[in-house]
């Protein structure tokens, strides 16, 4: 009797090891393949600009499709169990089979590996895109941003300043080096799928790649005070020529201001970040 029990235990043990081995090999293989596949295209395309906004759109789309599939799977199974398990007699109890120890472990280990491989796959994709977001192309326009309650103040490399309007040439990556003179703010440009907080005492950065002339909303995404929801501005993308012309004009104005020794004022002060419209 005792030996029989031991034999049963040994059988179970073997079964367990087999399950573990198979699932782990499969899961790691899958995860590895997935991550190397995800990392692949990034290296081959290192020479041209990887627009993070495009990358965002495709990764977002992919993740949404994935979670939709998982969600539907779970929901359908749940709905099916609900439907097929309605209580028919008052004294009825559930009749689900009791799990053997081996299958209990299997039901734990197998999902762990499936979830882990999905996680690693997602992480690998996310990391590749992250590098696109954080590696700013060398050929870029760099603008300093100081945020404050409640305006966005930009300073160009040549000293030209604007408020609530970031004017940039089409086709050139734009990098913002950001700080804040009072509370936290977050420079969010929905069209370019990017934001990053600005704060006193630290410099943070973000970049984006405007390609066509046009206007894009900038809005504050970090609670900064009473007028937080009115703290908006615009990114105005001009064609290269128009941008050059605009910049030239600003430069002459700046030079004129400097020679008359007037205090430097923002060359272009847009309306202060809006006020409630109705009263």
């Amino acid at each position: 009797m005792e030996s029989k029990e031991r034999k049963g235990k040994q059988g179970m043990h073997k079964q367990l090891v087999a399950i573990l081995r198979r699932t782990s090999v499969a899961a790691f293989g899958f995860a590895l393949a997935a991550s190397s596949w995800a990392a692949g295209p990034a290296q081959s395309a290192a020479s041209k600009i990887n627009d993070p906004a495009r990358g965002w759109d495709s990764l977002w789309h992919e993740v949404i499709v994935d979670i939709t599939i998982i969600g539907i799977l779970f929901a359908v199974v749940t709905a099916w169990f609900m439907f097929s398990s309605r209580r028919t007699a008052d004294n009825q109890v559930g009749a689900s089979p009791k799990l053997s120890p081996a299958s209990a472990v299997g039901w734990t280990v197998l999902p762990i590996f499936i979830f882990l491989s999905i996680d690693l796959y997602t992480a690998a994709n996310g990391w590749v895109l992250w590098n696109h977001y954080r590696d700013v192309p060398a050929d870029r326009l760099e603008v300093k941003l100081e945020s404050g309650m409640y305006s966005w103040d930009y300073t160009y490399p040549n000293g030209v300043r604007t408020q609530n309007e970031l004017i940039v040439p089409a086709g050139k990556p734009v990098m913002l080096r950001m700080t804040s003179r009072d509370t936290l703010h977050s420079h969010y440009i929905p069209d370019f799928r990017v934001k990053e907080d600005s704060m006193p005492g630290r410099v943070t950065y973000l970049w984006f790649h405007p390609t066509k002339p046009g206007e894009h909303l900038v809005t504050c995404a970090e609670y900064c005070g009473v007028m937080h929801s009115y703290m908006a501005g615009r990114v105005i993308v001009k064609s290269t020529d128009e941008y050059a012309a605009w910049m030239k004009q600003e430069e002459t104005m700046l030079a004129a201001a400097a020679t008359t020794e007037a205090p430097a004022v923002p060359a272009k002060a847009g309306a202060p970040a809006a006020k409630p419209k109705k009263t």
């Binding site: 993740v63 749940t78 398990s85 009791k98 979830f115 999905i118 977001y133 936290l184 995404a221």
Partner: protein
């Protein structure tokens, strides 16, 4: 039954019911705040108030009171108090008087939170209280700090009490592997509270010291650092979502299993893989709240991986919940509907959290309504549904009476439909750019109709909640007698009379060798 007896009670069931009443009152207040916000957002520009500060104060109160005054106390105060001693066959908790102290402190905290409406400059710093704004606002930051400190302290002493109770007061025969899942979940939650609440206490104390006592922990001009606060705050507040999640999923396990008369699927996987996994990972993921805060890149990437790994313990629990339904015998009672509702809401909430674990994706959706929609699904509404499931489930036990099934179901469907309308729409406009904490959305006129839809949905969902609460009040006063074990559950709390007397059982219970809280028997 006089008032004094209730206030000075040390009976764990009465302490629990005091927690229940207080937290439901908090829920009502915070719910009204939600409706005020929705009313304000129903049109572009000022709608019911022309002063953005009013909106910000409502939002502050809504967030802080829902979490600290409603969900945490309802779950770790009411359910833990009422159920744990009964589930483990104990006469009471280990330290009944400490328990009474914790509920008093809770009431002090709630009253302090409600005083928000009667002071001249109420706090307007959101439930997160980030400096520098919280240290320069004219709003009353001290109020926030003290509310958090008192409620946190109340919860910690509850934690010590329950860990001791479960360790030392189990009836003979109840081994660790025969504890109800809810008991395990609550233990996990209290371990997290004990580790992490002190960090929150530090964070909220430091902002008030900066503001009122002239220290400079968070002022970079004087050598401080603003990001430190965010790290401290979320080092607690992420685990705090598991302090909510663990007991609420525990309640769902109890309700689902009882009304399906089916043993929890793969019990040990839930306890050691699910609950254990969450307790282990809880402290390593807080940076996902700081993905756009200017943290070091390597931290954001590192915690992307740990955050995604949360899907493992949570996924195991979902598998178990669904597996419990397999070949079961489901009665679609009101508590069961709420519990099944949690399965679906949590499924949506959990899956929509996956993109939020990926820093590169959050660069667009962080701090938008996508996040607000996601966490209402995963925590706010799923948690509230499970609290409602639990109240309905144990209603016959603690009141001795039966609620009304018809109105129970009406309430459920209204809230279920309303929640999906509101929070699905939130996620939708969030992806398109709607930022959170906006009193006005003048720059996003395209979202006006979506906001109106959400306001309508919120009214429907509020109505559903109100019906449920009325159902309990009327049921507790006039409902028909419920009997000792209306659901036919072997779990120990159903073996005593309803409502249980002081001391719980006339003679202490003992359990048979083959007893298990989920061993359903025909009969």
């Amino acid at each position: 039954m006089n008032l004094k007896e209730w206030i000075f009670t040390t009976d764990h069931k009465r302490v629990g019911i005091l927690y229940l009443i207080g937290s439901l009152a908090a829920f009502a207040v915070a719910g009204i705040m939600a409706l005020l916000m929705r009313a304000e957002l129903s049109t572009i520009g000022p709608t019911i108030t022309a002063n953005p500060t009013n909106y910000n104060v409502w939002l502050y109160t809504h967030g802080a009171v829902m979490i600290l005054g409603f969900q945490i106390p309802a779950l770790t105060g009411f359910f833990a108090n009422f159920c744990i001693p009964l589930m483990i066959g104990a006469k009471d908790v280990a330290f009944p008087r400490v328990n009474a102290l914790s509920v008093w402190l809770f009431y002090v905290g709630v009253i302090l939170a409600l005083l928000t409406f009667f002071i001249p400059d109420p706090p307007d710093i959101m439930w997160t209280g980030y400096p520098p704004y919280s240290t320069i606002t004219t709003g009353n930051t001290a109020m926030y700090s003290f509310t958090v400190l008192i409620l946190g302290f109340a919860s910690i002493i509850g934690g010590v009490n329950f860990l001791t109770t479960v360790a030392y007061m189990r009836a003979p025969g109840i081994t660790l592997n025969k504890l109800n899942i809810f008991v395990w979940c609550t233990l996990g939650a209290f371990v997290l509270q004990l580790i992490f609440v002190p960090v929150l206490g530090t964070a909220v104390s430091l902002i008030s010291m900066d503001k009122y006592l002239g220290t400079n922990f968070f002022d970079p001009a004087k050598g401080g650092d603003v990001l430190t606060y965010q790290n401290l705050f979320w080092f607690y507040s992420h685990p705090a979502v598991y302090v909510i999640f663990l007991p609420f999923i525990g309640v769902v396990f109890e309700v689902l299993s009882s009304h399906a008369r089916s043993a929890v699927f793969n019990y040990k996987m839930v306890v050691y893989g699910g609950i254990g996994g969450i307790v282990l990972l809880a402290g390593e993921v807080w940076v996902h709240h700081l993905y756009v805060s200017g943290m070091a890149d390597w931290l954001r990437i590192g915690q992307m991986v740990t955050t995604l790994m949360i899907s493992i313990p949570v996924g195991l629990m979902m598998i178990s919940l669904v597996g419990t339904l397999y070949k079961s015998s489901i009665a679609f009672t009101t508590p069961m509907l709420y519990a099944l509702g949690v399965v679906f809401l949590f499924l949506i909430g959990g899956l929509t959290g996956i993109p939020l674990a990926v820093p590169s994706l959050t660069l667009a959706v962080s701090d938008t309504y996508y996040v607000v929609g996601h966490f209402h699904y995963v925590m706010a509404v799923a948690g509230t549904f499970s609290i409602f499931a639990g109240i309905y489930h144990w209603f016959p036990k603690f009141s001795g009476r039966m609620y009304n099934e018809f109105w129970g179901k009406v309430g459920f469907w209204l809230t279920f439909i309303g929640s999906n309308v509101v929070f699905w729409t939130m996620m939708d406009i969030g992806v398109d750019g709607m930022p959170r904490r906006y009193y006005d959305y003048a720059h996003f006129p395209q979202f006006e109709s979506a906001h109106q839809l959400m306001t309508a949905g919120a009214v429907v969902l509020g109505l559903g909640f109100a019906i449920a609460v009325l159902n309990w009040i009327i049921g507790a006063m006039k409902g028909p007698p419920a009997g000792d074990n209306p659901w036919g559950s072997p779990s120990l709390e159903w073996t005593t009379v309803s409502p249980p007397p002081h001391g719980n059982w006339p003679t202490p219970p003992s359990v048979a060798e083959d007893w298990h809280p989920y061993a359903y028997k025909k009969g």
